[in-house]
Symmetry: C2
Subunit: 382 residues, 2 copies
């Protein structure tokens, strides 16, 4: 396998993009990435998306977007892994280039969620759970996360408001990200006043949905001179049972641990080497579990990193430096690609007030379902 | 890229499998394939499926099926390209093994279509078309194919009943396939009496839907001794505009021609070398167009091969030797995998009365949408 570099990135603001169709939205991100990459010829397109058959009544996003971006007749396919679809598409593109199958591959994550009534979106998101044993029993996706959070608080002795520090950090960082969905600082009091969505999850534990797209152009590293490249040095993918109740320990993200271990080994890195970590805080409890499974905190001690300020841009292990899912927003099938784009921005030093000092090694972790599919990627500036 | 061999195949009968959930159905096919392959350790799973979010309310088939087949924690992902999802998953698995990323990869195509009211399935299938410019204007998937067939008859001077020979051959061959959906011979008179679905498409031009799953286990060729292996020697993937009206020539399947050319080049083969061809006869018109684009007939002359008996098992270019989509059945996201499994059966000489004599080189072509995504694979016995 050869080394792979990022030639260009692109993203749209996460918002209610009623003015854009899904192909136009994806196109915006891809066109920006291709412009940065100086318009190379594209060998293939990998699209990450979860909900378009349900929300947009559109399957077959591969040829739809390939045609729109000017790749008529080229290879194009959609990859789906619920909310991890973005990183799954990225990994497919990465493997195509690393293996020599393609010279230039484009990965784009795109999701439109605001064209339908919210109850249809809630239903769509629940298809990430086990249809037979979770969804059909009436549990929603936030309900599953609420049960995990409740058990976590009980087992490790935290108060729900101890998790507020994750949301406060994410909202603070998003203030400086023009692509973020929410631009508003929040306090612990705001958190405590926010209404209960599914106990113990409050509104300010939960990420907002939205429409958005993010894209990356990948090529063999030797196309660029060494010294100022962004390389993908580690990639891991793992799964767990789709139903939470089937797991031996629902408070440990096995697939996060396994995919992180693969990525660390491939990159020759360990947690101490990671300068910042774009994790999947769909709900604040997931930020804690992700930090623990990836080796940054002991079991049950994730919230301590947030409470002690270690997750801030200048802290020991900065997370959600552009706002995370909580404030940048969570257009589900696009989220994994937003994380990759944000890691590249940090490695390039483009993040202004939330720039991580001397960032050279960044990690992204994207979660599908309640931990059923998890992918971890490490990128480095050489 | 290293050579890849088929270690095992498995399939279920195509039927109304109300007794099986989607994970159980996929499991049936995978378990049979793994048994044939002597239960090797699996590195990754690639699932081809189109409709499960809409029909089964289940996204995230990767971890769902991985867990069910005993691959808990392994890598697993779903690939979607409408009715070409099966071949797209196969190509992903093939590339994973060919590139050295994995030693043993499993590809499974699975679809459950009979759990919902047929109108919901008709709607689901229409999401393979362009949602903005075709579906939302009221055209169904059969309607699009009807327009293509009407134009074809007009341009090349055929009668619709001239295409009946494709359906007659498919039904005849399916009589000897225990996995086929339909076991009934038909005549030209049956065809002419069959009711009109969307003029000029009659019921006996159209493939039946159904529930089914088909799977293949892939490994590096050097795991088996030469002499009696089935190797994948060519793989091609291409796209076209998703909307039929955007094509310069709606009567030529550009993506079929391009993907076939890639597969021929990779395998060092040309049409004359192909002993049989499992093509995508979702509607009889597609059989004609596929034969023409893949180089077996001049433009507009596909029906002649059927009328002159060249497509029969003992003919010049046998097609649909196990019944094709028309009579074996068309569980959409699984179809591409059924084609691969059937090619392997022919190369092994397991097809009884419809065995192609001395079959050494077989080809499969899987079509997504009305020609938007097309993949072509060549397999050979060495």
């Amino acid at each position: 396998m050869r080394k792979v570099a990022v030639l260009g990135i692109g993203q749209t603001k996460i918002a209610e993009h009623w003015e854009f169709s899904i192909r136009e939205l994806a196109g915006e991100a891809v066109f920006r990435a291709l412009e940065e990459a100086s318009q190379p010829p594209i060998d293939g397109l990998f699209v990450g998306n979860m909900l378009s058959p349900l929300v947009e009544h559109q399957s077959s996003l591969g040829p739809l977007i390939a045609d729109w971006i000017g790749l008529r007749h080229g290879e194009a396919v959609k990859v789906e892994a619920a909310c991890a679809s973005g990183a799954a598409a990225f990994r497919s593109a990465l493997m195509a280039v690393a293996s020599g199958q393609m010279e230039i591959a484009v990965a784009v994550g795109v999701e439109k969620m605001t064209d339908q009534h919210p109850r249809d979106v809630t239903f769509g998101l629940a298809t990430a759970a086990d249809a037979d044993y979770e969804l059909d029993q009436g549990v929603s996706f936030v309900g599953l996360n609420a049960m995990i959070m409740q058990r976590y608080l009980h087992t490790f002795g935290w108060q729900s408001s101890d998790l507020a520090a994750f949301s406060i950090n994410a909202h603070q960082n998003a203030l400086h990200n023009p692509y973020a969905r929410l631009h508003m600082a929040i306090t612990r009091e705001d958190y405590e006043r926010s209404h209960m969505v599914a106990a113990p999850i409050r509104l300010l534990d939960a990420s907002p949905i939205g429409d958005g797209a993010a894209a990356v152009v990948l090529a063999p590293a030797d196309r660029l001179p060494p010294g100022n490249r962004v390389l993908v040095t580690g990639s891991g993918a793992a799964t767990d049972t789709i139903a939470v109740h089937s797991r031996r320990d629902p408070l440990f993200l096995q697939a996060a641990w396994r995919s992180a271990r693969q990525a660390y080994q491939q990159a020759g890195r360990q947690p101490e080497d990671i300068d910042f970590f774009e994790l999947h805080d769909a709900f604040s409890i997931m930020a804690a579990l992700s930090l623990e499974a990836a080796g940054f905190a002991e079991r049950g001690q994730g919230p301590r990193l947030a409470l002690e300020g270690d997750i801030r841009p200048e802290g020991r292990i900065p997370i959600c430096t552009r706002g995370g899912l909580k404030a940048r927003g969570h257009p589900v099938g696009a989220t994994g690609m937003y994380q990759i784009v944000e890691v590249v921005q940090q490695l390039r030093g483009e993040c202004g007030p939330t720039q991580v000092p001397a960032a050279r090694v960044g990690m992204a972790q994207n979660i599908g379902g309640s931990g059923a599919t998890i992918l971890t990627h490490i990128l480095e500036r050489d």
